[in-house]
């Protein structure tokens, strides 16, 4: 029976879930503030450890880390001109200028308020849209799922970071690696080359921990210690016209970030740039952007939060991740045997609604954490990376081992860590590889099931209305992402 949002609140407000929500928000803000450790890396590192938690608590915590990092990312952008997250890069442009003018408090406050508006708006829409979309998705069969996975693979273009060819190769390698092991439909061994070790296949978690955790530490090992901003914060709440301008910009950032966030590949790092660009184009004084405009802080901060929240709609309703962190949350759901998609709301409605309700609570927790306690977070910049790096590496090693109690997974984690580092250094995007590992088996299985249904005729994919619509949308989106949406970011 569908417990609904009210039932979800009852679930989310029990002490255990409330604690996991708080821990997720604190961890999220922590990694958001710390440059060099992102929500994807943190979620990947913690993923194996969540297997010791109840499913709702684990997902509530991982979700908290994701949207919490969007809040925290602005702090160092504004105070020390170092973005804690890639999505906070545009915040540096005006945020740090405001700090230099003695208006750091205003910038931090509008970033937190904008994030809260966006996060809450996103959660409200998620509450209504996800179950409705899930009901539509109940009509999906293998051909529709094939088209949907194909549609999601357009994210490869978005994650390609400037080189489509490299993105395609990385995605292809991910799909290739997903083939290692025993084919579930025929029982034949693929790419095992007679080795028993390979028959179990590549578990996605050690791959994730290597690519995001170990690689992140190896990359950050090259970075120096940051200096803490020691000036005054100024007054915390913007006044008069500044407040009004900031609030309007937050609303515009929320809308653009949310709408774009529904599309595969539209990660917060992209939409925050777009929101900044839109704000600049709409402004009566675009030449003042970059000199301390409050709109330049409010819009990107609202957009990155709205995007992170919007991503939960395709994830929960269709089982489609639109960003690396959401791919990790998808892996966590699968680890618990919870298949995201229409049946999540049908068979595990208590769980789904508790997670959604926790997001309302999480946004309030984050507002409290990021307004009065902002000075505390700013001091985190003092924690030298020489203490954090080794701990992250240690957790990755144990985490990779804990998945199947196998040293092969630890070797996989280290191998992918080195690969991930080399990819970063050589400007190869690593996210398409993960997307390939996760979506590859879904694509293959749905395609093969579709063709079994049709007796081997591929026409089934083009004769069913939903699948043909999604295939056309895939083609349109490919052109759209590449030609239109990426232009402002590349220009910037």
């Amino acid at each position: 029976m569908d417990s609904g949002l009210l039932g979800g609140f009852l679930g989310a407000l029990n002490f255990t879930n409330l604690m996991y929500c708080f821990v997720g928000c604190v961890l999220g803000t922590f990694v958001g503030v710390l440059p060099g450790l992102g929500p994807a890396a943190t979620s990947a590192i913690l993923l194996p450890l969540t297997s010791y938690m109840p499913p709702s608590g684990a997902i509530i915590m991982l979700a908290g880390i994701y949207y919490g990092a969007m809040y925290g990312g602005s702090t160092t952008s504004i105070l020390v001109n170092v973005p804690g997250e890639a999505s906070s890069v545009p915040t540096c442009l005006d945020g740090f200028q405001m700090t230099k003018q003695g208006r750091a408090g205003e910038a931090l406050a509008i970033a937190a308020i904008g994030s809260f508006i966006a996060g809450t708006f996103g959660t409200i829409v998620l509450s209504f849209m996800a179950p409705a979309l899930a009901r539509v998705a109940l009509k999906f069969g293998p051909p529709e799922y094939f088209a949907l996975v194909l549609f999601s693979l357009t994210a490869l273009v978005g994650f390609s970071e400037g080189s489509l060819l490299k993105g395609l190769i990385a995605g292809g390698i991910g799909m290739f690696l997903a083939c290692v092991g025993i084919d579930p439909l025929s029982g034949k061994q693929r790419l095992t080359f007679g080795s028993v070790t390979f028959t179990g296949g590549m578990d996605v978690i050690p791959v994730l921990m290597g690519l995001f955790g170990v690689a992140e530490v190896l990359t950050s090992a090259e970075e120096g210690i940051l200096h803490l901003y020691e000036g005054a914060l100024g007054h915390l709440i913007p006044r008069g016209r500044e407040l009004v301008k900031g609030l309007y910009a937050s609303v515009r950032g929320t809308i653009s970030g949310f709408v774009l966030g529904l599309l595969p590949g539209m990660i917060p790092a992209v939409t925050s740039f777009l929101a900044y660009d839109i704000e600049k184009r709409l402004s009566k004084y675009p030449e003042k952007f970059g000199t301390g405009c409050i709109e330049g802080v409010a819009a990107p901060e609202a957009a990155n939060n709205a995007t992170s929240q919007a991503g939960f709609i395709p994830l929960m309703a269709l089982g489609i991740p639109t960003s690396p962190t959401l791919a990790i949350i998808l892996a966590a759901l699968m680890m618990y045997g919870l298949q995201p998609g229409p049946f999540l709301f049908l068979h595990h409605s208590d769980f789904a609604w508790a997670v959604i309700a926790s997001m309302y609570i999480g946004n309030v927790i984050l507002l409290i954490l990021n307004l009065p306690l902002v000075g505390l977070w700013a001091r985190l910049c003092l924690v030298p990376y020489r203490y954090i790096g080794p701990i992250v590496l240690g957790v990755c090693m144990v985490g990779a081992f804990s998945v199947r109690n196998s040293l092969f997974d630890v070797i996989t984690c280290v191998g992918f860590g080195i690969l991930g580092y080399l990819m970063k250094k050589r400007h190869w995007p690593s996210t398409p590889l993960i997307l390939g590992v996760i979506l590859g088996p879904m694509l293959e299985q749905s395609l093969r099931q579709s063709l079994e249904l049709s007796g081997g005729s591929p026409a089934i994919l083009l004769t069913r209305p939903i699948s043909v619509t999604l295939i056309i949308l895939t083609a349109v989106l490919l052109v759209f992402i590449r030609k239109v949406l990426y232009k402002p970011q590349l220009d910037g």
């Binding site: 450890l49 040293l407 063709l451």
Partner: protein
């Protein structure tokens, strides 16, 4: 350019492995004939591998064409060679640690790993990195082996722990 060539060749090698395995599977599977599974385990793998082969070749050609710009980049990369040595050292230590866990067991291997990695990351003087490393090892063991009850490899301490 050299490294770009290595990358492309690695992709091509991987794709050839896939094509070879798909070829092997096609002989096995087609003989059995599995219902309407027209794709089987071979054709999907073959398709992905063929795609990788094309992309790898494309990357190879593109790399060869942009030789001049790559040479310029090489000069920039040489600046951060000292840091790269640090990364190589950490990566090497991780590989050694992975095998040490297998041979020595989690606790002895980690007791050696953490002090060394802290020292490499810049915790000075050496006694401080040893103390911090041992404390971290103890915390890790307490959290994962006792509280989370993970069956960590015991190795040399099999009869003691």
């Amino acid at each position: 350019m050299y490294r770009g060539l290595v990358e492309s060749l690695a992709v091509i090698f991987l794709s050839l492995l896939g094509i070879a395995d798909a070829w092997r599977l096609s002989n096995l599977v087609r003989a059995g004939g599995t219902f309407h599974d027209v794709i089987g385990p071979d054709r999907y793998l073959g398709f992905i591998s063929a795609g990788l082969l094309i992309c790898g070749m494309w990357n190879l050609v593109a790399g060869l064409k942009s030789r001049k710009s790559s040479q310029r980049k090489r000069v920039e990369e040489e600046v951060s060679k000292v840091n790269v040595n640090l990364v190589i050292l950490v990566a090497f230590l991780l590989v050694v640690y992975t095998f040490a866990i297998q041979i020595l067991g989690y606790l002895p291997a980690t007791s050696i790993f953490f002090p060394i990695i802290y020292f490499i990351f810049g915790v000075r003087p050496l006694p401080k990195s040893i103390i911090v490393g041992l404390v971290t090892t103890a915390l890790f063991y307490a959290i994962f082996a006792y509280f989370a009850e993970m069956p960590l490899p015991k190795g040399l301490l099999e009869n003691i722990l």
